[in-house]
Structures are given as structure tokens and as C-alpha cells.
Symmetry: D2
Subunit: 342 residues, 4 copies
């Protein structure tokens, strides 16, 4: 059945599989110390314009968030995030499991945090008469694109970066779908901008054409001490690091990562046109690959027989919010078929 | 200097000290298995009308909250609380330290949760398409009186209790200042009501006339397994349990706990009258022993030279919120002196 | 350079890669609910002879151990393991990170626990006058083969199983290298035996021909509640579950898993012969694929120039313990070449 | 019934109770910022000879150990302790609950660690080929007197201190019964020695004449950041800090702490004489206030009817190990009565 359920429904881009096959019997050492990881690091450093960035590969997004936040925060600190941030709601409490509170600010415009509200949260904290009995704001978490597919502009990122530097807390950018941000027509933030403005970020592979894997980048000589040991302690160290290294080496060769993003954006633009034509009303229409639609419950049930999408939440007693996703693998024909079904 | 800073500025009621002195050289066993703890348990069981309640004594409120919430929740569950709940903001992340998320609902009328909003949070959770990736609502935390001194009515407690039973999650009542609720003119909730309507609650000693100590009550044969071991694991097991037992044995003899509450309420009523006379504007005027006042910053600085109060937070650029507290130990003369200073 | 460093130096068996390629663009749902995972589950259930076993796929061994131990233990319980057990020493404290103590017993005969010593540990605990202040023994962890390649006999497993049942604690078997146990000439324990005698175990993929992945099997209707949520909370839920499902579907088709084990054992037997011929002295000579050799330090340095092996630990001032590993991918020619170099 | 069960069977020394009574209605601020805590700090600084020591008061020993170890260790570090150390066995896993492994060394001579074995553990760790996958040794925990009442000599402490400095890990001394060490005839270690040779230690109150309370001393400007917040986060911050401050102010006035120790030692010496006369065989005969005796099980049951002691553990099928404790409160008459019963 046709599926627009998410951006991880297929396997991996064929070039990745080819490279896995062609290198299969080379004997290399484990735990990320192999030449493929090194090749990937070199390419990513070039792509972000930071020759001395520290780069590690982990297998999934929640895992990466948990490891980064837990190892970069002091024990008495929490992470600031939008109330809709992935770390706030959709990680089953993985951050709290690691001992840290998520300090939420309201979300705006599809999941973004407002720099003024972040500033106020920090300043209110330090002015509070009881702040010694409260969780210290120790990091700002944002996602680009957000969980609803929205984009921070360079201006907005600069404002957030400024605040973080003023209060000496790291700015962490979750790039689970970063490829789809980079390729968006509305985007004006480059990988170099991100490397410059944030303190740590990850480039998502799982949702952008890899079988699994996220590339975690520390750009300010700020890798937590004994980081490999800390990854291991979190159960997150992959023995065959080659699996992750090969995939990112390939994703960052010949602009593959950007091209995969472009495919998702182009098919998403087609999808948006179709949804408009068919008079669907948007819960959030994003400039990236996720589109959120409000749909009558009976219509939803009928549609469910013909196409896979994601049910998000109740909208009102007779309507629901559902999500259609395009991806690196979506073909225009698939959008045409969806158009017929809608 | 005269102080209305809080309700734990003095030591303990003289009867408690006398009993500590008179029993001092009796040799008893440790860890809460002594005859004083047993005496206290018997009296508390009588006071709450539950002959088979399980009762444990811990030394402080945050500690009690952490132990109760961590041992009663499943690992994948969080606790629902008002956004202003003590566990949400003023425990330095003690709940998250134990691995659990605090799921917040808006606060109303001085820190209370609204039963409908609690119900909606739970139902929205179960209807969410991604709830398998979210923290399960596993307990409801309320405080009586609330952090702002407000009181739940019996009706409200019944509504909350009903919801908790429907969704099979325990209702936990933090009674750090329970004595001041029980004695309030606006109160219509008895200890028996609380024992009946909640699943677990604690009767606060630290803020109501004891040197330290909270009496934790399980009313539904629902004590977590090996609870003493779990208390020990949290670093919360007091070797000389007698210190806690003696205090509660005394607090629950001859209605002392209620009388201490009454003193705080009577002096609080006097204080409220004074504040009204002096045209202070209230941030929150409570029916219990804490009164929150909005004050001009210059006036606040002047007042600070003569009397101790609690600075709470910024109100606007020229005003602050401060708190005056009466307690079991407040004397009418102290209120008169404050009246002169205001 | 020739490598006998470990059993995860190569990628994956070619049949796995072929299947990844051939299924790549099939759209399937995520998080282990895809048809490939289901296919793998069906095959594994057949192989172990338990039609209703619950099976989950995780990406690595330490991760699996952390998730199993943390979700199956009560908070006040610890896990019994050999002092040389992987969870005791080589997981960077991942078990303690999750809040649980590892209770160690001495190791015997290449890393095995002695049933009597396990029994004594449990009985001594319950007889201890202070056991309420101690960590409860809540699970027994063993590895088959052990960290030194040794094998439990069926008799030994039966004895351990009996003790666990008597004291009502689960028996957990870490099968990171299970394929190499199953194929050993000295082995008399089948997958069915393991399924019958343990309460939970995992079948290792990472070290036996997969790119990554371990198949976790609950054989007694004893899966922890909301297990997917708990996996997510540990940062261990893979979005593209297909990656794991496809690999295990293939490993358990046409006896591939056993054949991969056989290759490692056959080449290990050749390797042992070579080591004996060359008069190497064994630190531990195992019936599986890992061989531990005591070597003069100067000789070790010379050898290091020509072949990769694992340095384990200091033996004495002039000698070290090193390890040679064969694997699913080792070719007889590689052993011949090693023979020339030794 | 006569009791030699432990050293916390009575309440507090009468001077402490008197001071609690005489200061009861003085209004002071909370959380350890009161003048009584300050008075106690001044006296303790004089007693230990470190004018700028940082001193905090906590309510119990396990709590103090958990807070110190968790806040001073890096997340990837564990604490070295004797296998019989309190943190190893009798804290219900409180250290592991906080995420840290206890790395054990064998115990010698009544619970002491051997400097060479500590050194070897650290050096073996750094030489291990896999140490990146292991828990880093990050602190040394010792107790003075030990759990069996033994004493480190100044020489031994110097040796341990030297090793800790060489490897840059803090030396932490648990002084739950420190008063009994200081007063022992065999002791040659002063408070100043401890302050100089360790990095952090605590002076026990609970077991030496206080109702509760331990004084935690950082002697090297090495208090963990935002320590009050971290204490709060562990549920260990006492609101009425005065309760702890008053007790330690009194214990450290006019040498009371030493005198209490002397009483326990003098009565312990009498007790040892009695035990020798009655031909009891010692499991461990200590130079402090705890004496461990091997006793026939039938004799033990008979004795149990007449005097309270602590059952420790099984010795063999017909014998047990029991403990007799003297304390600050033991009267010679009590030892005479015991002599008659034995």
C-alpha cells in the first residue's frame, strides 16, 4: 500500500548499500576508529567548514539527544526546549531518565522557540528568590526543522546563539531531518551557519537516506571528557562503527545528502499543491517535508484503507490531525497516486 | 529581627522538646521500629480513621515527595502536577533526578489543578497516535494547602479522586502544611476525607511545629514492596527513628497538631486585616498561613531593614511579590509589631 | 593487515546484504512492527521451539543488557554475575548508570559462575541480619559462551535454572556470541534448552555475521510492561526496525546462523593447533572462537607489526595476555598466514 | 531490656537537648544559613585546624555518602572501597542508585583497604586494553573506624593520601563513628591529620551523641558547584538547619565530642575484658566501640531473651557472628549487668 507515513519507510539510498557491499570484507577496527568513520569525518568537516570539529556517530535520534544532553549538562541543570520539542514529548522520558528536567517555553510558528521567551526564562530564574531550589537552565535545545517542519531563519539562530553565549549555556541543534531544512526554498541557514552558531548539533541520517545513524558534531572543542566511555555507559556505542561511517562517508560525497533533501522538498511541494487543490485545511503547512492536515474522522477512516499516513492527535470531536511525509525516496508518481486517492 | 519569612523559623513546640528530654535515655531499636514510632502510628491511624494504614516517617518534604513518586511510579510513568506544584519547580529537579517526568497542567486559584484538565491530559495521552513514545501519566500530585496557601474543597478532592480511580493512577497529597489547611475557616476537608479520597499522603511536621519530619500514610494497602529498603536506597532512612516517632506521637496527642494550625490561622487572619488596612495589594490572599503581596521595590527595600519576609519573584519593573508567613509559633504581638512597621 | 582482533572486523554475511538490497524500496512501518521483523520472529520461534516467545530487536549487546536488566529488576534489586562478566567490567558502568548494582561471584573455568556460589550468595543474603539494608539479588546473568569463550554444559544450566526458580529470580543469558557456542564440538546445549532453562536471553547478531543487532527473547510470557516505551526511554529504539528484522530473518533462514558459527569454530580449531605447534602458552584455551595467549612483551611488539590482535591485560612484568579471535568471516588462508607469522 | 544493639539506641546528650530547648523560639533563617550552623562551622574549623574549610550538615550517613560520592565523581567514574565498606554492602545500593559503581578491593584487618591494592587497581585499570569500556576509578572511600571498628594508622592514611594525589582522585573518609576512633587508645590520627590527608570527610553525629546529623567537611576548596542545590536535588536539604547546627555547635564546644568518644571506649574496654573472661571467641576484637563475637546458636537464642545485641551473619552451621556495641551513653553498670548475663 502507498505510504506517506513518515520519512523512514524505505531502507537506504542505493549508493550507501553499494558501498556497504563493496567494503564488506575489509577488516577494520571497531567502535568508530575505522577508516570509514574517519573518511566521513573529513567530509563532514569540509561540509560544515570546521576543520577541527569533533565528530561521533550514534545510531538514533533519541539516543543522541539523551547522550548529548546528559553528558553536556551539569547534574543540577536542565535543558530548555519548546513545549513541542522532541525531547519534551516524544522520547518517552529519555531525558528525565538521565536525571535532567526539560524546562519548556511555549512554541510558536510550527514548533519554534522565541528568543525573548528563552531570555526571560533564564533571567527570571536568576532573579527568583528561590532559584537555589530550582533546576538551573543549562542548555538550549532546538530542532531544525522543528517537529512540525518549520525552519529557523539565520536571524533567529543568531538571536538564540547570542542569548546562549551571554548566559554561557550551549546551544544544541537537533538535525534529525536537517537535510530537509537545507534543501527547503525558505531556508537561509547553511551547515556553516549552524556550525558557527551552535555549540553542538547532529546531522540526521536515519530520516535522510541512511539505514540508521546520526552524525554528532562538536564545533567548539567542547566534547565531554572520555566521551566514548560515556557513550558506552549509555548503551549507545556501536561495535561495527563502519556501518555508520560508511553511510555518512557516502551521504557526504558528491552532495548526496543535499540531493536527498531536494527530492523530499520537491515532492513535498507537489503534495502541498495537491492538498490545496483538494481543499484540505492545514493544521500546519511547512516549508519542509512534513505536512499536517485537519481531516474529518469519517473521511480519515476511508482514506486509511488506501494510503498510509500518521495519525497525530484529536483536533475536535469530529476531526483529527494527520501527517503526510515525503522523503528522500518519494517518487513523483507516488504523489500522483495520492492525488487520485484524496 | 522580627520575622515572617516562613513557617520553619523556630524550633519545635515545647511539648515535643519535653518529650524528647523525658525519653532521652530509653534504649530503643532503630530505623522506625521503636515504640515511639508505633505510638505515633496508632495515634495517626485514629486521627485519620484508618486502622490499618501503613505509616512511615521521613525527615523532609522534598525527600518524601521523591521517595513516594519514585517508588510508586513505574519507570515509564510520570507524575501529573500543577505547573506551580512544589515538585514541578522548587525541588531542584529531585523528581527528574529519580528518573521521572513531571507532567504539568495549568494552575488555578492559587496553585490548584482543575479536574477537567487532569482528565483531558490523561485522555489526550491515550488518544495520541504516538503515546507509546511518550511518558505515561502514572500519578496525580496535589498539595493541600497549595504552594500559595489555597485549599481544595471536598468536592474538588472527590472529583480528582474519581478521575484517578477511573484511570487507575494513585492520588498523592502533599501535606507539608496540612495543619494549616485543617484549621482554616474555609476548609471542609477532614483527615478522614483525605485518607479516603487519596491513595497516599503525608502529614507535614517540619512546617507545623516539629524540628523535622513528615508522616507518610498509605491508606489502601499499597505500600511499595520492601519500602524500608527503598527508603534506605534514597538515603532517606533515619537511624534514630525515635526522633521522628516522638514528635508525631506528641503532635497527635490531645489535638496538638490542630491547635498549632489554629494559631497560624488566627494570626494569619490578623495579618490579612493589617495588610488590608494598610492598603497592600495581594498577589494571592490565601485562607491559610501564607499571604502574597505585591510591593513597590523601594518600599520593599525599606521594609527589609525592619522585618524578614520572603522575596518571591519580580512582578513588574518596579514591583515585586513578597510573602508573609505566620506559623504555629507566631504570637499576636508579632503581628502588632509588624502592623506598626508596615 | 591481517586481523584476528575480534569477531566484528568485517561487515555482514553476503546474504544479509543481498536481502537489504532486494527489499530496499519496500515501504514498511517503523519501530519493529514491519513484516521483516515478523518474519524473523517466526523463524526464531521455530529455531528455539517456543511458538509464543516474545522477541524484540536491539542494536548492541551492552544496550540489550542495560535494557533487560533495568526493566526486569525491581528498583531495589541487583543482578548476580561473574566477576569477569561483561556487565561487571566491560560496559563502562551501564548497569549502575541504570541504578542497579552488579553482585559478583568468583569466576571459574574461563568465566563461568558456580551454581553453589550463586545459591550461597542468595541464601547468605536472606540470612543476613542487615539484609533490609542491602541490595536484593534479583536476577542471574550468565554469558554463553563466556567472555573467555567457555561453555556451560546443559547440566550446569539446569543447576542454575533450578536455583533461579527456587528463589524466583529470572535467569538471563547473554548470547552475544551464541552462534559460536552452538557450533562448538564441546557444546551440548541447544537453543531449545536455552529457551526452556532461561527466562530471557539474546541471540547475538553483531558478532555473528550481522552489521548490528541482537534478538532479545522472552520465553515465559514475562516481557516487562510497555516494553517498547521502555526501550525508547533507554534511547534504544531503532526507527528502521527493518534493518534488524531483515538481518535476523536471513540469519535464521536455512541454518545460516549455525553455519556462520561453524566457520568460526573450524578456523578456531586450526588456530589452536597452530598455537600449540608454535608452543604458545594459553591463558585460556577455549572451545569456541576466542583464544587467550600469554606472550612475552618483546615478542608481542614484534608481532604487532604484522597482525592485529587484542591486547587484554598485563600478565606479569615481562608478559601480557593477548587474544586471537576467529569469526564467521575467517578464511582458512588467514590462519595459514598467521601460522607463518607466529 | 538491656541493650548493646548499637550506638544509636538512646536520644542525644543532655547538653544538646538543653541547647535545643534554650534556643527554641529564636527566629532564624533556614537551610543551613542560620547562626547556629555558623557557630558549629567555626568550632569545627578550629577543631580540625582548617580556617577556610567548607562545612555542610546532612541528616544521615548513607545520605551523606550518596551526596558526596555522586556530586564529586564524574558520571563515568566509580568509587573504590573495601568489599566490606558501608557503601559497598549496607546502603541498599544508594551509590548505584545515583549511577556510580563501587569498585571493590579486598578488606584486611577488620575492614581496611591496603594501599598497594588500591594502587594496583588504579594502575591495572589504566593498563587494561579495554579501559575505555570500563568504569574509571574516581575516588577512594574509607571509613575511620571501619565497619568492624578497626583504625587506620597515620602512616596508612598518609600512604592512601599519597596514592590519591598521585592519581588525582579525592580521598573521602566516612567518619560515622569518628568520635570513637579519636578516643581509642590505639589511635594516632588527629582531626587535623584527617583534614590534611583527605579531600573530604564527615564527622558523624548520629552515632556519637546527636539525635541525627553529620558534618561534612571539604578541606581543599573543592566543594562541588551549587552544592546546596545538589543537596536539595538528592532530597537531603533540611529546612530547619538549626537542628543540625545546634547539635554540632554543642558537640564541638568544650570537647564534648571527644568526651562522648571516651565514654564509649572506656566501656568498650570493660566489655572486652568481660568477653575475654567469659571465654568468648572474637570474630573481630576492635580498638573502638564495636566487638564482634562468634557464638553458639543455642547460646545466642538464650542470650537474646535477656539482652539486645545485633545478629550479623551466619558463621557456620552451628555458630553465628553477633555484635556488642558501647556508645557515648553506655554506663559501666550496664556492662556489669551484661557480665552477669553472659
Amino acid at each position: 500500500m502507498l505510504s506517506f507515513e513518515n520519512d523512514y519507510s524505505e531502507g537506504a539510498h542505493s549508493r550507501i548499500l553499494k558501498r556497504l557491499v563493496s567494503t564488506d570484507l575489509q577488516q577494520v577496527t571497531g567502535y568508530g576508529n575505522d577508516p570509514f568513520c574517519e573518511e566521513a569525518r573529513i567530509r563532514i568537516r569540509q561540509a560544515i567548514g570546521v576543520p577541527d570539529a569533533d565528530i561521533y556517530f550514534l545510531s538514533g535520534g533519541t539516543q543522541t539527544n539523551q547522550v548529548v544532553i546528559d553528558t553536556m549538562l551539569k547534574p543540577y541543570e536542565g535543558v530548555i526546549a519548546a513545549e513541542t520539542g522532541h525531547v519534551s514529548v516524544h522520547e518517552a522520558g529519555a531525558i528525565e531518565y538521565s536525571g535532567h528536567k526539560v524546562l519548556t517555553v511555549p512554541m510558536h510558528n510550527g514548533g519554534k522557540v522565541n528568543p525573548m521567551e528563552v531570555k526571560n526564562l533564564i533571567e527570571d530564574f536568576y532573579q527568583d528568590g528561590n532559584h537555589e531550589h530550582m533546576v538551573f537552565p543549562g542548555m538550549l535545545y532546538i530542532s531544525q526543522p522543528t517537529e512540525y517542519g518549520a525552519l529557523y531563519t539565520r536571524r533567529e539562530l543568531e538571536a538564540l546563539s547570542l542569548i546562549c553565549r551571554k548566559y554561557k549555556i550551549p546551544l544544541y541543534l537537533d538535525g534529525a531531518r536537517l537535510g530537509y531544512a537545507l534543501a527547503s526554498h525558505e531556508n537561509n541557514v547553511t551547515l556553516s551557519d549552524i556550525a558557527r552558531l551552535t555549540d553542538v548539533f547532529y546531522i540526521g541520517g536515519t530520516k535522510v537516506g541512511a539505514l540508521c545513524g546520526e552524525a554528532l558534531v562538536f564545533t567548539k572543542h567542547n566534547t565531554p571528557p572520555h566521551f566514548v566511555t560515556q557513550i558506552k555507559q549509555h548503551g549507545a556505542l556501536i561495535a561495527k562503527g563502519r556501518l555508520l561511517g560508511i553511510q555518512f562517508a557516502e551521504l557526504f560525497r558528491d552532495n548526496l545528502y543535499y540531493k536527498l533533501g531536494q527530492n523530499a522538498i520537491e515532492t513535498a511541494e507537489m503534495l502541498k499543491m495537491v492538498l490545496h487543490e483538494k481543499k484540505y485545511s492545514f493544521y500546519f503547512e511547512s516549508p519542509t517535508n512534513q505536512q499536517f492536515v485537519i481531516i474529518d474522522n469519517r473521511k480519515m477512516e476511508a482514506l486509511r484503507q488506501k494510503v498510509v499516513f500518521s495519525y497525530m492527535q484529536k483536533y475536535d470531536d469530529t476531526h483529527s490531525v494527520i501527517r503526510f511525509c515525503t522523503s528522500w525516496a518519494t517518487k513523483p508518481e507516488q504523489v500522483f497516486r495520492l492525488a487520485e486517492l484524496l
